[in-house]
């Protein structure tokens, strides 16, 4: 009992931002060192070469760079869609389904009226339909939450499976050729509903759209009355009611926005890049987006960094498994270690560790 504890931990009140970033940088550096050691022990490879391969995989060629940017754009788009809902403490785990519904809306427009209206009108219809589809998919759980206080986490999660089944159904309805079980490239000959290429780059338009949306969501959340309202609702519903904020309306409105942005993600995938519809089109980004949003503390601008980090790790991991003929799991191990350190450093940002000095002599 008389032993002086070696360390004790206290909560930090505030941390200077330079120091906070220093902690983060140290965390990344430590992660790289640990990964290096494990790489050497497990595979005998030179870790420097492995890292070089990761960077090469992400930035190596202009095609890789564009793939990286495209992936960041899509992940970021779905993450900023989740941000307002999360700020409102509405745990929208239905990003996948909402984006898929947006994709379904866009694909349906392309297939059903692709050759009946001029291209500009088609694209306009695609935008409207996919936004509405995404908003609808988020609006349903929001309505139930607002009206009967149902659990939004389960509700939005379940809506994902409904969306997947709906898409699976329509894939069979619209399959080309009959019996193929898939849609293939939509309007391959007419390119109707394909987004125009900007600057000769297939992915540039998506990157521009998502950049603009990110800034808009940032402004919406931090500088508008509606953004303020949703923060108050998230922090304390009684306070919101007390000052006359219509809580139900704010919940539904915010989720419509969240779903609409998810719908845009689906639209960008169908109209902008993939030009097809599959049940795995969104590929779990609705969940990865949750991590991106949390890591960035729901700040859309920080999400640029966190989504870059995650996409970079994913692409780098894929690259090293092919280059060095390693098991796919090895890339996951590296990704896991790096994320562990980055998330773990939050502890050091929130808490301070004191090492007990040798006790003063009692006079």
């Amino acid at each position: 009992m008389n032993k002086v504890p070696l360390i004790h931990v206290t909560r930090r009140k505030d941390i200077f931002w330079v120091r906070a970033w220093l902690v983060r940088i140290i965390a990344v550096a430590l992660a790289l060192v640990v990964c290096g050691v494990i790489t050497m022990m497990a595979t005998g490879l030179n870790p420097i070469k492995v890292y070089a391969a990761m960077i090469d995989g992400a930035f190596g060629t202009s095609r890789r760079l564009w793939m990286l940017l495209q992936n960041i754009a899509i992940l970021l788009c779905i993450s900023i869609a989740l941000a307002p809902a999360f700020r409102m403490r509405f745990w929208n785990l239905g990003g996948d389904g909402q984006a898929l519904m947006g994709a379904l809306g866009a694909a349906a427009s392309m297939i059903l009226i692709g050759d009946k209206v001029p291209n500009w009108l088609l694209i306009l219809i695609m935008i409207v339909v996919s936004i509405c589809a995404g908003a609808l998919w988020a609006g349903i759980p929001a309505f139930f939450k607002a009206r009967w206080n149902t659990n939004e986490t389960l509700f939005t999660l379940m809506m994902n499976y409904v969306a997947v089944q709906l898409v699976a159904f329509f894939v069979i309805v619209w399959e080309v050729p009959k019996g193929a079980g898939k849609i293939g490239i939509i309007n391959q000959n007419s390119n109707a509903g394909w987004f125009p290429q900007v600057g000769g780059q297939k992915y540039l338009l998506n990157v521009i759209i998502v950049s603009v949306l990110t800034i808009l969501v940032f402004i919406y959340m931090n500088y508008t009355k509606q953004g303020y309202e949703l923060s108050v609702v998230g922090e304390s519903e009684p306070t919101a009611r007390y000052v006359g904020i219509k809580v139900r309306r704010v919940i539904v409105r915010t989720m419509l926005l969240s779903g609409a942005l998810c719908g845009v993600t689906g639209l960008l995938l169908v109209g902008g890049t993939d030009h097809t519809l599959t049940t795995t089109l969104v590929g779990g980004r609705g969940f990865t987006g949750v991590m991106v949003a949390w890591l960035a503390k729901f700040n859309p601008v920080f999400m640029v960094i966190t989504s870059f980090l995650i996409v970079f790790l994913q692409r780098g991991a894929t690259e090293i498994t092919t280059t060095f003929g390693l098991n796919q799991s090895f890339g996951d191990i590296i990704t896991g270690i790096i994320l562990f350190f980055i998330i773990g450093c939050e502890f050091f940002l929130n808490y301070q560790i004191h090492f007990r000095k040798a006790h003063k002599e009692v006079a």
Binding site: T10, T224, K225, Q226, S236, T239, Y242, H354, V362
Partner: protein, 511 residues
Amino acid sequence: MERSPVIELKHITKRFGNNIANDDVSMEVYEGEILALLGENGSGKTTLMNALAGIYYPEDGQIFVRGREVNIHSPRTAFDLGIGMIHQHFKLVDVLTAVENIILGLNEKSRYDLKAAAARITEICDRYGFHVDPFQKIYTMSVSQKQTVEIVKVLFRGADLLILDEPTAVLTPQETEKLFNVLRNMKADGKSIIIITHKLNEVLEISDRVAILRKGKYICEIKTSEASVQQLTDAMVGHAVTLNIDRPVPVDPKDKIIVEHLTIRNSDGVAKLKDISFTARTGEILGIAGISGNGQKELLEGIAGLQKIESGSIRFVDDNGKETELVGMDPRKITDMGVTLSFVPEDRLGMGLVGNMNLGENMMLRTFRHSGGPFIDRKEPFHLAKRVIESLEVVTPSVKTAVRKLSGGNVQKVLVGREISSSPTVLLTAYAVRGLDINSSYLIYDLVNQQKKQGVAVVYVGEDLDVLLELCDRILVLCDGQVSAILDARKTDKQQVGLLMTKLGGEAANE
């Protein structure tokens, strides 16, 4: 008689970032005494006791228990040393029973024996004169019962030094008396008790010695038998304070809020208010007295448009004598009607303010809709925050500090400051000085009086009868959701109000 100290604190220093919460504090506690730890909000009382209870670890200083130096690095160590703390916010699991809560976390090797534990609980209760049903679930208990469970929990673990953090803040006068009897029994049994408080009359009633902290520093200790209210106040505040509450005569009172036959049920269908009728007038303070939970909350929230009203009417009378029905309107509609109604609710951080937002952002809550366009005006609320900080002497690092980081008194000042900044015509306050120190309390009384002088109709729900009797013009006594009586505060006394609080219409007075 020379007694040896049970606990000795020597040169305890505890910092939070750049704030020094405890600055070189040394003090002792003896066996079989009740020590009152007195100080204003933020003077470091709770921090110091948390260091004893193993919640905080001081940067510097030594703690001796029965002459032996110890390091208390966890609440468990504190328990092993016989130190038990009853916190202001109870730490109980609502869905469990009393006995389950009490044995929770005890590191026994064998299986939990609830029956034996219950028997021991009953034994402890009998010894000190309180009552707990070991198998009652916590969520069905009143605040005072929960507090009893907390005390039993500490005794069950063999504590012989009990620290109580503001134990009377949530109790009625009768419950307080009961608690004090228990404390006296414990003292007779040789236990040492530290009671953190800033209610001076209680200090004088219960304690043997008073230790006073101010701004983290140990100021002095006084024998209670030799102390006076004025002396304690001055030592606590650091300068002389006048302890009189002003009560100007109402000027030209006019009816402002007319409540008739109001009935409100809670979500379980229980009637919290039954057929209430009264009138609040301009330039007058209408006090609401009653044991807590007798409909005070529902009454104020009903007027503010936050409660579903079953029947009755609440009418607002404007300056021209035109009456507007408020029943069925939400707070937004009430504001849009031009009724400037300010409301200081009981649960400051749960309803009045947003804890995670800073002072400026909290000022916006009321006014953010007023500016045109979709964007929010941040400038004006931050100016207002600065004005409130200045005029009400709010202690805060900056306007950009999250409100939850402020002490209770400062939180209340921010809330009251915002509510009166809109120059209201009606001011509703619920337990405006709960948990506030003497300086802050008198500041709040002054503010309420200022509003009264400006012709505001004030409805003041309070718990301290002495204050209600000094501050208010009329007092409405609630009992079981009904109006027990409406009294002229100048012509009544504590005895009468107390009776009306417990018996409808005070029939007991004639028995």
